[in-house]
Amino acid sequence: MTATHGTTTRTAAAHERVEVTLTVNGTPRTASVAPRRLLSDFLRHDLEMTGTHVGCEHGVCGACTVLLDGAPIRSCLTFAISVDGRELTTVEGLAADDGTLHPVQQAFRDHHGLQCGFCTPGFVMSACGFLAENPDPDEDQIREGMAGNLCRCTGYAGILDAVKQAAGAFAGSATHPCEQHRVDADATDGHDREA
């Protein structure tokens, strides 16, 4: 492999394993993978972070949605090597360190926005990205914003209610929809963490 960034073309042979480093939920994580490694599999197999789910693997269901530099993307339609060096947020990065749920997660819980839970990480990440772009959405906007994710259990009503509640929760909070939730007590104990 030639150098990674800057003015040099990066190349890798078909079966060559190359080092890919991503900042995942604030922590740099590295693994050696072949070019064909999907970002979804990089997370699940190489980093053993199985919060990101894989349903259809062709972009239709949304279960694999993660945030790339804050914007939601399909991890099953992205190669890990393509996004080497960038920042990811996965569902594991949302709850506070003490386990307190992120407002989007709490809203899904409050409104029964999940049953089997398979689709949930994708919906939660899509909702985070959606609310960052649309802080005060009406119901049509919520429907359209969530239309890229499929759920085979809930019938969607609870999910839409959850996104609505979450929008309200952010309106009065300092938490950015795409960042890890921080509990107030945290801020006072002098333990300063990158959100």
């Binding site: 040099t8 693997e57 099953c76 239309a147």
Partner: protein, 292 residues
């Protein structure tokens, strides 16, 4: 559902990319946003020996708006173009069409130009390009060329992109003053490819009568189907449009097929209904000052 192995190249410049593509020839495939290519790779409907990723190219990421046109480079995503105020003020049809392109999450990575290269017959942007009479700019190691929408969009999932070539930009001409436009479609789920859809432009004269009208349909033929409607509508007042002749003409021109989602008959009917609505909207917009 995993892609077969491929060699990977992420060139840092356009020149390096063209050299790499020239070396690879038939073996090389361009990777832009991956939102159409990666599904094909995952399903093993395509298995190129090598991918040339545009992700690390320095440049190719500008949207340029002039008096005459909007020029969009290869690395510009759907979402960036959709939210580009100067570009969508210059050609409001771009924004309306892009609202229909896939889901927000897909638009975050998929490129506008990539959807034209991909040439899905239900894709919105190929139809906009055809309707506005735009063109694609292509580069290869030996040189550069441009291709008009009509020459470039040759069939379903087939554009005239040759081995070793990189599409560098797409150029959408601005419609003449006094023109209103509209895009309407129906999909099973908002953001999915349309069952049928249509983009239209209507240009009025000083008396607010139709001087020129055009439509381009998606999902009802191998490529965007263009239907010139000036003969069917010329001279009609913008606030009393009678689109029946235009609808009949369109229904007899398009060539829809049956598939799992809808019958050809339904698609033909739907295309006419959408056309009627889009024409009314475009004429009203033209009368309200022209969206140009």
């Amino acid at each position: 559902m995993k892609p077969s192995a491929f060699a990977y190249h992420a060139p840092h410049s356009l020149e390096a990319a063209l050299d790499t593509l020239a070396e690879l020839g038939e073996d090389g495939k361009v990777l832009a946003g991956g939102q159409s290519l990666v599904p094909l790779l995952n399903m093993r409907l395509a298995a190129p020996a090598a991918l040339v990723d545009l992700a690390r190219i320095d440049g190719l990421d500008t949207v340029e708006v002039t008096d005459r046109e909007v020029r969009v480079d290869a690395r510009v995503t759907h979402e960036r173009l959709r939210t580009h105020v100067a570009a969508t003020d210059a050609i409001p049809l771009l924004r309306e069409a892009l609202d229909w392109v896939a889901h927000p999450v897909i638009r975050n990575r998929g490129t506008a130009l990539g959807s034209i290269v991909h040439a899905d017959p239900a894709g919105e942007l190929p139809a906009v390009l055809a309707l506005l009479g735009g063109h694609v700019e292509l580069a290869s190691a030996p040189g550069r060329r441009t291709a008009t929408a009509d020459d470039y969009l040759v069939g379903p999932l087939e554009s005239d992109t040759r081995p070793g070539e990189l599409a560098t930009a797409v150029v959408f001409p601005r419609p003449e003053p006094g023109t209103g436009s509209a895009f309407d479609e129906l999909a099973r789920r908002h953001g999915d490819y349309a069952l049928a859809g249509v983009g239209v432009t209507v240009t009025l004269d000083d008396d607010r009568k139709v001087r020129r009208a055009d439509a381009a349909f998606i999902g009802v033929g191998a490529t965007p189907i263009q239907v010139p409607l000036t003969d069917a509508l010329a001279g009609q007042a913008s606030d009393a449009l009678e689109p029946d002749d235009a609808i009949d003409l369109a229904r007899s021109t398009i060539d829809p097929e049956d598939d799992i989602h809808a019958t050809a008959r339904y698609r033909r009917h739907l295309a006419g209904v959408l056309l009627g609505r889009a024409l009314q909207t475009a004429a009203a917009r033209a009368a309200a000052g022209g969206t140009a």
